[in-house]
């Protein structure tokens, strides 16, 4: 609260400065101008700053949203209304001898509420459906990669390829079934590979929302899976540049990272720029060095917005992301014999004892560019929004090859995507409706420089999407429903395996429907319940239908099947949340039925090649069921302490063969003790967090489903301590974080490097931040 008051004062001050030049004494005039400021839902908007020029008059709206100027002379004035969280409003007013009464409606700038239909009903910070990482959470660990930021969200696991490469998995689903929306635009990259980390910098967003229950209908792909939203928040009004800079050093891998953020909001123009740089060398497992696991990341983004006087605004967003990622040298396997000898080793092959920052093959080089325009225009009880975005994603993967070919990528893919969306939101009586149209054109091409037949073929697709969602608050709770239709096609050109090589063409139909229904009810002021149901189908992805080639990491051949059918999914989730005295709780249970679920299945026989025998994995379909539960329980101990426990339980089954689904996350239980204290001398606002995370052994599997049995259970301790030195306005924020504090030796089931090596040992990160 005090912070808001300070912000308000700063605003008044800035505003006063802005107007002081035009301020002249107005004497002898008696006219009045009064008005009422409301928001989209007709709520009174208090604390809005109302300026009137010429004259430099200034008022602040009261709790009822009303304001009044008096002593005005008749004439033409410009009225401006500025309020945090709302689009600034400008209008011209004719002040006459008759007192005028204005009625002004502001539209929100807080995109979270309008972007995410499912989220809309959830004003709680962490509902069972949407879990939100705030800007504060993101800046608590600025050096963490996008995926690492998400790891602490219950229900989210990471599929890893060592410590540097991770991709999120929500409720057991990842890759083609998990879409990421970056500022309303579908993130376009090589989603299909398990070792393809999202090319995103978490700090380019101000918050990340994970929708776990039933995905939002604005997300293309109609997969009915979960989705992750990177969102922007409104920039606080400030006439001067505000910013933040942070530096972090991590002991394991001797990582250095530098981050910067600058923003400015002059009322009609807003600017925001951020940049991050990260460098890490070889990591260290408790017993040995993790040779060639270093990484290098750099990213920058720029946001510019212009607010027009009629309340509409135009936004330009540019972002660049680049990374070079090393993969453990001992994890590059040429055939089954190599793999089996690697399994028998304590320490991976090619382990060097000396530390190095150098990144050699096997490695990945990725680059991602985004340019985006958004136009937003509010109108009576509604708004219109249009988006165009272009994305370019380049992925180079380097293997160890003969005769100097190590520097020629073994896989090189260029993906470009055009994204168009127009969306209308309109309130009709008690109903809140959203109608959107999308067109997405995607091209993904291989570069023949590799000298290797591509793993996935070239393809070009055009996808049309139309969705409608609606919300209806009533006495028996909030009812949400919506549907989405997609149509379009994909042209695919594969290179056949016969000699001489020939080109085979395919065309896939991308038509898919999805439907959603939700009900939310506050039982009383402190307890709530929600039920969500969703159905959707998904056309098999390019890799599932057409991939063909060798996967070096696991020494296996992967083969797609062009005859795969659509996957159908039905998901139901139920959640309870609330507070009771010192307790807070959030319990969510879900069941996800998938018919013709696409998965990789090992074939019985090995394939003989000149490099030896290889297991063959082929994409197949079955009927699957994933059930699970995410639980959270908090207990407040006195004023400063909170105990928080969380658990994620998940189980996947193949209903057709009565067998477990492979690579489902094991049970995870987390216990945490948090302390938020008052200042002790120079140590201001100290915060302490001690967390123990226990990951069970995955016991729900069958012999033959995996190359080696799942690793045993492990528990990790994490300690985090942060405080401030100096004043609130001009101080340093320090944070010390110790991961794997007991230097536990462990391997994680979802980490592909578990076949070859232990995971990272203890890592202490010191992070210092300055806000200005």
């Amino acid at each position: 609260m005090s912070c808001r008051r300070i912000q308000k004062r700063i605003c008044i001050l800035c505003f006063a400065l802005l107007f002081q030049f035009g301020a002249t004494a107005q004497k002898g005039c008696q006219e009045k101008l009064s008005g009422l400021i409301t928001g989209q839902d007709n709520e009174a908007v208090s604390d809005a700053l109302i300026g009137l020029n010429p004259g430099g008059w200034l008022r602040i709206s009261d709790a009822a949203g009303s304001f009044e100027f008096d002593g005005l002379c008749p004439g033409l004035y410009t009225l401006s209304v500025i309020r945090l969280g709302y689009v600034s409003f400008y209008t011209e007013v004719q002040v006459q001898e008759v007192d005028a009464q204005l009625s002004i409606q502001l539209s929100r700038t807080n995109e979270v509420l309008s972007e995410v239909p499912v989220e809309k009903a959830h004003h709680r910070d962490s509902s069972g459906l949407g879990v939100r990482l705030s800007e504060k959470d993101l800046w608590n660990a600025p050096s963490s990669s996008f995926s690492d930021q998400l790891e602490n969200v219950r229900g989210v696991s990471l599929i890893r390829n060592g410590s540097g490469i991770g991709k999120p998995m929500v409720h057991g689903l990842t890759g083609n079934r998990l879409n990421i929306m970056n500022r309303g635009v579908l993130h376009s990259a090589q989603q299909w590979g398990n070792d393809h980390a999202p090319e995103l910098d978490a700090l380019s967003a101000q918050e990340i929302v994970v929708i776990k229950g039933v995905g939002s209908l604005s997300v293309p792909g109609a997969s009915n899976g979960a989705s992750i939203f990177l969102q922007a928040t409104a920039i606080p009004f400030s006439d001067r540049w505000k910013g933040r800079t942070a530096y972090a050093f991590g002991t394991n891998g001797r990582s250095h990272s530098l981050h910067a953020l600058l923003s400015k909001n002059t009322g009609s123009w807003t600017w925001r720029w951020n940049a991050s740089f990260y460098r890490e060398g070889d990591g260290q497992a408790p017993g040995h060095r993790l040779t060639n696991t270093g990484s290098l990341r750099g990213s920058s983004s720029l946001e510019m917005q212009h607010h027009f006087r009629d309340g509409s605004n135009l936004e330009l967003f540019l972002s660049h992301f680049q990374a070079e990622l090393g993969i453990l040298r001992g994890a590059h396997m040429a055939n089954l014999t190599d793999l089996q000898s690697a399994f028998q080793r304590e320490e991976p092959f090619f382990t060097r004892s000396e530390f190095s920052y150098s990144i050699d093959a096997p490695r990945q080089e990725v680059r991602h560019e985004l340019i985006q325009f958004q136009w937003h225009r509010p109108f009576y009880k509604g708004s219109l929004k249009s988006i165009y975005a272009f994305q370019y994603d380049q992925r180079n993967e380097f293997d160890i090859r003969r005769s100097g070919r190590t520097n020629i990528p073994a896989l090189k893919l260029d993906k470009s995507q055009h994204f168009f969306e127009t969306r209308v939101e309109q309130e009709i009586g008690n109903w809140d409706g959203t109608l959107g149209f999308q067109y997405i054109r995607t091209q993904n091409l291989n570069d023949p420089i590799t000298g290797i037949l591509p793993l996935i073929p070239d393809h070009l697709s055009g996808l049309w999407g139309m969705y409608f969602s609606s919300e209806h608050p009533s006495r028996c709770g909030l009812i949400e429903w919506g549907l989405r239709m997609e149509w379009g096609s994909r042209s695919v050109a594969t290179i056949g395996s016969d000699v001489p090589r020939t080109i085979l063409r395919y065309r896939d139909d991308l038509g898919n429907p999805s439907v959603q229904l939700g009900w939310e009810k506050d039982i009383n002021s402190s307890h709530g319940i929600g039920v969500h149901l969703g159905y959707g189908s998904r056309t098999p992805a390019v890799n599932e239908r057409y991939s063909f080639g060798l996967h070096q990491g696991v020494a296996s051949l992967e083969e797609g099947d062009p005859l795969l059918k659509r996957e159908h999914s039905f998901k139901a989730s139920l959640d309870f949340h609330g507070t009771s005295g010192r307790w807070t709780y959030d319990l969510m249970a879900y069941a996800h039925w998938m018919d013709d679920f696409i998965y990789l299945q090992a074939e019985d026989s090995l394939r003989l090649t000149i490099r030896g025998a290889f297991p063959v994995f082929r994409y197949q379909q079955t009927d699957a069921l994933i059930i699970g539960s995410d639980l959270q329980l908090g207990y407040r101990l006195g004023r400063n302490w909170v105990i928080r426990s969380e658990a994620s339980l998940i189980r996947g089954d193949d209903r057709e063969q009565n067998a477990p689904l492979v690579f489902m996350p094991p049970v995870r239980v987390q216990m945490g003790l948090e302390y938020k204290g008052t200042s002790i001398g120079w140590l201001k606002a100290p915060e302490l967090q001690l967390t123990h995370r226990w990951t069970a052994e995955q016991t729900h599997w069958q012999e033959g489903q995996d190359l080696i049995p799942p690793p045993p259970a492990y528990g990790l301790w994490e300690l985090r301590f942060s405080f401030r030195t100096g004043s609130e306005a001009d101080g340093l924020i320090w944070s010390i974080r110790v991961e794997n504090a007991t230097n536990e030796r462990y391997r994680d089931y979802l980490d592909r490097l578990r076949y070859f090596s232990d995971s990272k040992g203890i890592n202490a990160t010191v992070n210092v931040r300055y806000d200005f």
Binding site: R402, P448, L460, W464, L550, I610, G612, F614
Partner: protein, 183 residues
């Protein structure tokens, strides 16, 4: 509003009607591929060849393996030749291996000690390479011989220079098995 919907639907029909085709992909020049391994044994005035040939790579048709019969108590000079027959004329991989001798080593594993292979060549560091070898069988019978080519092995690891693959590490570029009938 109605007009917006109409324009959108009309333009969607326009886009739908022109179904774009992706351009023909360029077929990569697979110069690194090894399609054919020939192990030629010369001794007692005769020449015997053992060939492993897989022209279409990892998928498609099964490889063709040709074997021969040799005589016991004869010392044969063995030589390996590697080809990439996806190219025309065929690429000579033997020369590539020879040029990077320090980074490569062949291993010969026999199913029985009665059939043994020893190295006849070395790299610049006086460590074995295996393009040239010597093979002899002390007793008649049926043997299997596994020929492995490792890229970036640790040639100084224990036993590796004697032809023991156990501690070699590196990646397998070739692993073929020949059945050898010894009279």
């Amino acid at each position: 509003m109605k007009r917006v919907v109409f324009v959108l639907l009309a333009s969607s029909a326009l886009f739908l009607s022109c179904e774009d085709e992706v351009n023909d992909p360029l077929i990569p020049n697979e110069e690194e591929v090894i399609t054919t391994l020939t192990y030629t044994l010369t001794g007692a005035g005769s020449v015997h060849t053992f060939t492993f040939q897989d022209l279409d790579g990892d998928g498609g048709n099964a490889p063709m393996i040709t074997v021969d019969t040799i005589t016991s108590a004869v010392s044969y000079n063995g030589s390996l030749s590697l080809l990439n027959e996806t190219e025309s004329p065929a690429g000579n991989i033997t020369a590539e291996i020879f040029a990077e001798a320090e980074e490569h080593q062949f291993f010969f594993q026999s199913s029985d000690p009665a059939l043994s292979v020893s190295y006849s060549d070395t790299d610049a560091n006086q460590q074995p390479l295996g393009l040239l070898s010597e093979l002899s069988a002390s007793d008649p019978g049926d043997y299997s011989l596994t020929i492995t080519l490792r890229h970036e092995p640790d040639k100084s690891a224990s036993g590796v220079s004697d032809g023991d693959i156990t501690n070699a590490g590196g990646e397998t570029d070739i692993e073929v098995i020949f059945q050898i009938h010894v009279l």
